[in-house]
Symmetry: C2
Subunit: 340 residues, 2 copies
C-alpha cells in the first residue's frame, strides 16, 4: 500500500500522457516528458508496484502501461485539480444559452453546448416532474366527450394528455372542473398530489363525479406514473472519435444503451445533494456501459435541484476538464431557470 508521493506523481503522469496520446506510455517517454528527477529504471520499479496494486496494467508484455479504472479513480479523487474554465469557454456558454425562449429551447441548447464543449455524448434531463409544483391546470374541450388536459409546472414544463370522458359534458361543468382542480392542486408538489386528487373525487358533486373520476385517473397517470421524465441527448457522433480504439471496437452496446430512456435516467437522474458524480468504467451499473465513464451533476434554480445533466465518454477522458465544463454548464442553466 506504500504509495509515496513519487509513485503518485508517476501515476498522474501516466494518466495525463495516456489521455493525451491514447497510447500506452513507457518509462523512458515518461521521464522525458515530465520532470520526475529520476531515471527510467526507477520509474519502472514504481510502475511495477502500481501495477501490483491494480492502478495500471500492460496491454501486452512488451508494451507501455495504461491506467485501469482503479487508476483513473485514484487520479480523479486525489491527483487532479479541477481546471478553471478558459474565458473563451465561459463566453461560449453565455453566448450559446443566451436568448433561449422556452424550456425546450433551454434544454436543447444546453445538451448541444455540452456535447460541443466536452466533445463527448451529452445528456440533459428535463426538470423532473416529481420535483416540480403545479402552476396551472387547463382543460380545453375538444369535443363533448373529450378534453385536453394541459399541466404547466413551475419549472416550465408543460405536459398534455387527452381525457376521454365517460359521457358528454356541458361547457359549464368543464369550467367547474377547471376551477376545482386548480383550487386544489395549484402550488402543490407533484409527488404530493395523489391524496389530493383522491380528495377531489370524493368531494365532487354527484353531477361532476363521473367526469372527475376519469380526470383523476388521467391526472395520476400523467403526472405521477407515466413517462414523467424526459431526456435530451446529443453528440453521439463524438463516440467515433479515437477511431474505435476506445470502447473495445464496438459502438453497438453503447448506442443501444443510449436509446433507452430508463438507462439514461439512471446515468444522470439519480441526483444527490453531492455536487459532482463521476463513474468510471466498471463502476457503472449498466453492463453496456462498462467501458465508458460518466460525469454528471444536478442542476436547478438556486440551491434546489430539479434535474440532472452530464456527459458520457471513454474511460480515457480528460476528467479535470470535463468536470469543470459540466459543473459550469449546470450552474449557468440553474441561473437561467432562476430567472424564469
Amino acid at each position: 500500500m506504500g504509495l509515496d508521493d513519487r509513485k503518485l506523481a508517476v501515476l498522474r503522469a501516466i494518466v495525463e500522457d495516456y489521455v493525451a496520446t491514447q497510447e500506452p506510455v513507457g518509462s523512458k517517454a515518461l521521464v522525458e516528458r515530465h520532470q520526475l528527477g529520476v531515471s527510467p529504471a526507477t520509474v519502472r520499479n514504481d510502475m511495477a508496484v502500481l501495477e501490483e496494486e491494480g492502478y495500471i496494467r500492460q496491454p501486452h508484455t512488451s508494451a507501455g502501461r495504461v491506467p485501469t479504472d482503479r487508476g483513473y479513480r485514484l487520479f480523479v479523487d486525489r491527483l487532479s485539480r479541477v481546471k478553471p474554465l478558459s474565458p473563451a469557454e465561459r463566453r461560449a456558454i453565455e453566448r450559446f444559452l443566451f436568448g433561449a425562449v422556452d424550456l425546450d429551447d433551454v434544454v436543447h441548447r444546453t445538451v448541444r453546448l455540452l456535447a460541443q464543449l466536452t466533445r463527448q455524448v451529452a445528456v440533459v434531463q428535463y426538470p423532473s416532474l416529481a420535483r416540480s409544483s403545479v402552476r396551472h391546470l387547463e382543460l380545453v374541450p375538444i369535443s363533448t366527450t373529450r378534453l385536453m388536459l394541459v399541466m404547466i409546472a413551475d419549472t416550465g414544463r408543460v405536459e398534455q394528455r387527452l381525457v376521454e370522458l365517460p359521457g358528454p359534458i356541458p361547457a359549464d361543468d368543464v369550467t367547474d372542473l377547471r376551477r376545482l382542480v386548480n383550487e386544489k392542486l395549484v402550488g402543490t408538489r407533484l409527488s404530493e398530489t395523489p391524496p389530493l386528487v383522491q380528495a377531489l373525487v370524493d368531494e365532487a358533486t354527484a353531477e361532476l363525479r363521473p367526469a372527475m373520476t376519469t380526470l383523476s385517473t388521467v391526472l395520476l397517470e400523467t403526472l405521477v406514473e407515466r413517462h414523467e421524465e424526459r431526456i435530451a441527448l446529443a453528440g453521439t457522433a463524438n463516440l467515433t472519435r479515437g477511431g474505435l480504439l476506445d470502447f473495445q471496437g464496438s459502438l453497438r452496446p453503447i448506442l443501444e444503451a443510449l436509446e433507452e430512456e430508463v438507462v439514461l435516467l439512471k446515468l444522470i437522474g439519480e441526483v444527490e445533494p453531492s455536487a459532482m458524480r463521476v463513474r468510471i468504467g466498471d463502476e457503472n451499473e449498466i453492463d453496456n456501459l462498462r467501458s465508458t465513464s460518466v460525469v454528471s451533476t444536478g442542476y436547478g434554480p438556486g440551491a434546489t435541484i430539479v434535474g440532472g445533466l452530464g456527459v458520457l465518454g471513454p474511460t480515457r477522458m480528460d476528467y479535470p476538464g470535463t468536470i469543470a465544463t459540466v459543473r459550469a454548464v449546470a450552474r449557468y442553466v440553474g441561473d437561467l431557470l432562476a430567472q424564469n
Copy 2:
C-alpha cells in the same frame, strides 16, 4: 442498351444475393442459387454488359459483382414487387401502437416500431404545424408581466412559449386577449395566420394594444418561424449491423448528419403527394449520407398528409421489405390520427 429479360433477371439475382449475403456475388454462385437455365459463362457475358451499362461493378479484379446505386435504382423501379407484410408483422404494428395516449406517445412508439421492424434507423416527423389548424389558444398568467401561451393544434400538437409583456396587465385584460385571439384564430391553418395576427393588433383597443403587439410577435415566431418542426429518431444502434462493412468504415458523418434537425427534415419532410420516396446512395442531397439509402413517405389522417416518416440504412438494404413496412406503418399511424 439492350437489357433483355435474362440480363434483368441476372441483375435481380445479384441484388438479392448481395443484400442477403453482403458479399460480392460471382457467376457460378449465381447459377447455383437461381434457376437461370444458362451456364456461368453466359452469365459472365451478361454481367460484362451490365457492368458496362453501370448497373454493377467489381470491387477489385477477381472478385464478384456488386450492384451500383444505379443498379439498385433499376431494381427498385422495375424488378421488385412490394412484399406483402406477414401477419406477424401486422400484429406487431397493431400491438405496438395500441394504447398510445397522446401525440408524443404515438410518435415515440412509431419511431421505435419502425426501427425495430426494419432493423434500421427510423425517423418520424411530428405533424407539421404548417399543415395544422389552431384548435385552441390558452393564455396562462405566470406573473403580472408574464404569460404562458399554449397553442393546441388539431393534429394533437401542443406548443408553448413564454410571453414577456411590456408592462403589468390586469386579469380581465388577459381574459379579453384570450377571447380575441381565439375568436380570430381558431380553425385557421397556421400557414394562413400571419395576416390575421396582424389584424388582431390593428383592431385591438388602445388599452390592449401593447400587450397584443407583444403577443402577436410571439405568436408569429412560435407558430410560423421558429422550430416549427419536431422530429423523433430511433435505431441508431442498427447502423452498426454489418460490422462497418456498409458505410465504408466510418459512422461518423452519418451520426453527425442525424443530429441535425434540418437534415432529418430534408430526408423525410419534403412530403409530396407521391406515395413513396426512395433515395439511393448518391441520389441523396446530403453529402454525409451518400452511402446510405432513405425510404420515406407521408402520413396523415385519411388522404391528407401532415408529416413524413421513413428509415435510413445502407444502400445494401432489403428494399421491397423496407418499403412494405414503411408504407404499412404510415398507414396505421394515419388511421390512429384519424381517430383522434
